[in-house]
């Protein structure tokens, strides 16, 4: 895990007024707070917290998966939400990891560590929580 790189990426997000935290592990996660959703139109919250695992060897390994709080109403509506990739404990809560793989044939661009990181993964998370099923 490249803490220096993650710190730099999270600084970019904070400069854009996004609330993000690095959660030390093991396992390590990045917590994105209040990610906007399209839920308001269907009487669901307009935002949700999301955690993303820091992959081993990052940034050589691609960022993958996304987790929502256990019991989140979005789990039944996001891509891969019903295909659990495990339940993890972080930030004092339980989270269910969804089968969301944007950089691995999952709808996003192929992983390129020169261009992608936790600062760009927010785009994949926003798209994920916008395209509710």
């Amino acid at each position: 895990m490249s803490r220096e790189r993650i710190d730099r990426e999270l600084s970019l997000l904070r400069a854009g007024s996004l609330e993000v935290e690095y959660l030390s592990g093991p396992p390590e996660f990045v917590l994105y707070r209040a990610v906007p959703t399209s839920g308001a139109a269907i009487q669901l919250p307009a935002e949700s917290d999301v955690i993303v695992p820091v992959p081993p060897g990052y940034p050589a390994s691609m960022i993958d998966l996304a987790g929502l709080p256990v019991g989140s109403p979005f789990l039944a509506r996001v891509k891969g939400g019903v295909n659990s990739q495990g339940v993890v404990q972080a930030d004092g809560r339980q989270w269910q990891l969804a089968s969301y793989h944007p950089h691995n044939n999952g709808g996003g661009p192929p992983w390129n560590p020169a261009r992608h990181g936790f600062h760009t993964y927010i785009d994949q998370l926003i798209a994920w929580l916008d395209r509710l099923q």
């Binding site: 790189r5 940034p59 050589a60 390994s61 089968s99 793989h101 044939n105 020169a114």
Partner: protein
């Protein structure tokens, strides 16, 4: 800074020679041209920036940039170096915008050794205090270059953590450079001299001393690495750093130099086999062997002290890790690999590949050699891999693609004569670099033993200007945010099987 007669000690006399300074092209060439522009009669100087890493007891410094003097920054009317205060202040203020160490490099005129004069002592004492205010917590570096007996020679001392440290080795990419403090080194045992007589006859007496003073790191001690290690040990290289995480099994015996049936039965670590084999060839060769992998921190400490590194693994993450050391720590390296293409007795390709990896070369990402899916899978824990394989199987049973979870990657076939050839030729180029007798006339060399034309080489590639390798060259630890790879937490800690590095 003209030299005065040599003095025994001063306040700036280094306590220990525990520093390695690394320089790469094009900076090294630019630096030397600048320093010797008034040679042979007068001196010249420049400020420079250095990355650094405290690697055990050794401080490794890497030349990251030259802050060359502008008109008026140095006084051209005097033969010694006289630095204008504005130049000093400019470099000090610039330190706010970068995290690197600051240093002064100057030349001595013809006939003068790179021995600091009393004026140099005064300058270094002053600058060490001065830059501590502008760049606290960073080393201050002072290097002197001169020509002695037609040889480029450099000395260095570094103010670091309240003490003066001397440069043990100053390494310039593919350029003969003698470190001043190495004058007394290089005792060559008579048996070695006779054993390497053929090499010495071709390369000259100096080559033997250069090889004896050299450190070569071999990353991967399998078929390719064990061949490279054998060639280097027989050539008289003084110190080998051997890194491999694996143990011997039956399938390795066809190509692993130095291995025995007993090793396969006992699953002896490959690093241990290599260390034992080197000792049987040349007991005077210092071996640092470790069961582990780059970029584990202790292994990085060792490898960045090498003159040359040879990458001998078929793992893409290992290639990335070595490339990261090439870029950030200026370790010139050669990556080698082999591939045997064929099935059911029909051999279609027998390929040996060598890739030159110098700090200014395109990195593996720029060369589009890296498959991120493969690297991600290589770096997973065994538990994660099992879970991913199971998830892929479940997806396929649902009629979905299993590829988001797991890609089955084909096992590369190989054979002993190809691995031996690749490792031996890579070791040959390492010897060429160390002795400055020849260099790699290619960026990438591919030889297909069953093709109509034996060799295919390609030209230098163009680095991707957006790649991290363009930002962090020579930045060492200070470029950590641009590292290509980090060591996964699930890897076991390194185990040293022979002498640990300093």
């Amino acid at each position: 800074m003209r030299r005065s007669p040599r003095r025994l000690t001063s306040d700036c006399t280094p306590r220990e020679d525990t520093v390695i300074v690394r320089m790469a092209e094009p900076e090294a060439g630019i630096l030397l041209e600048l320093l010797f522009q008034r040679y042979p009669h007068a001196e010249w100087a420049t400020f420079a920036r250095f990355g650094w890493r405290q690697a055990g007891e050794t401080l490794v410094l890497t030349l990251a940039a030259i802050d060359a003097p502008r008109d008026g920054d140095l006084d051209p009317r005097v033969p010694h170096v006289a630095i204008d205060e504005a130049y000093t202040l400019r470099t000090a203020l610039a330190a706010d915008a970068h995290p690197l160490a600051i240093g002064v490099i100057h030349s001595h005129p013809s006939g003068c050794e790179p021995e600091p004069s009393s004026i140099d002592d005064d300058m270094d004492a002053y600058y060490a205090r001065y830059y501590a205010d502008f760049a606290p917590g960073r080393p201050y570096v002072s290097l002197i270059a001169s020509h002695v007996d037609d040889e480029l020679v450099m000395s260095g001392r570094i103010w670091w953590q309240g003490a003066w440290l001397g440069a043990r080795r100053i390494i310039a990419e593919r350029r003969p450079l003698r470190t001043w403090t190495l004058r007394a080194a290089g005792h060559i045992d008579a048996p070695l001299r006779s054993r390497t007589a053929r090499l010495t006859a071709a390369f000259g007496e100096a080559a033997e001393h250069q090889l004896r003073s050299a450190t070569v790191a071999v990353i991967g001690a399998g078929g390719t690495g064990s061949a490279a290690i054998e060639v280097l040990a027989r050539a008289g290289v003084g110190h080998l750093i051997i890194v491999d995480p694996d143990r011997v099994d039956d399938s390795n015996l066809e190509r692993l130099h130095g291995s025995t049936l007993h090793d396969a039965e006992q699953q002896t670590p490959k690093a241990r086999v290599a260390a034992r084999h080197v000792a049987s060839i040349d007991p005077t060769c210092r071996v640092t062997a470790v069961i582990g992998a780059l970029p584990q921190a202790d292994i990085v400490h060792a490898v960045i002290q090498a003159d040359v590194a040879i990458g001998c693994t078929d793992q893409q993450h290992s290639r990335l890790a070595l490339a990261d050391l090439t870029v950030r720590y200026l370790v010139q390296s050669i990556d080698c690999g082999v591939m045997l293409e064929g099935r059911d007795g029909a051999v279609r390709g027998q390929i040996v590949q060598l890739i030159r990896s110098l700090p200014a070369d395109p990195c593996p990402y720029c060369r589009e050699m890296i498959d991120s899916v493969r690297v991600t899978q290589e770096l997973m824990s065994p538990e994660d891999r099992a879970a991913r394989r199971a998830a892929a199987g479940e997806a396929q049973s649902r009629g979905e693609s299993g590829s988001p979870y797991w890609h089955d990657l084909p096992q590369l076939n190989t054979v002993g004569y190809l691995t031996t050839m690749a490792g031996a030729v890579a070791a040959g180029y390492a010897i060429g670099w160390i002795t400055d007798r020849f260099t790699t006339p290619f960026a990438r060399l591919q030889m297909n033993l069953v093709a109509p034309f034996l060799d295919v080489t390609d030209a230098d590639g163009i680095p991707d200007p957006t790649c991290a390798c363009r930002r962090s060259r020579g930045w060492a630890d200070q470029g950590a945010a641009d590292a290509f790879i980090t060591a996964p937490a699930h890897w076991p800690p390194p185990q040293w099987v022979s002498k640990r590095h300093r």
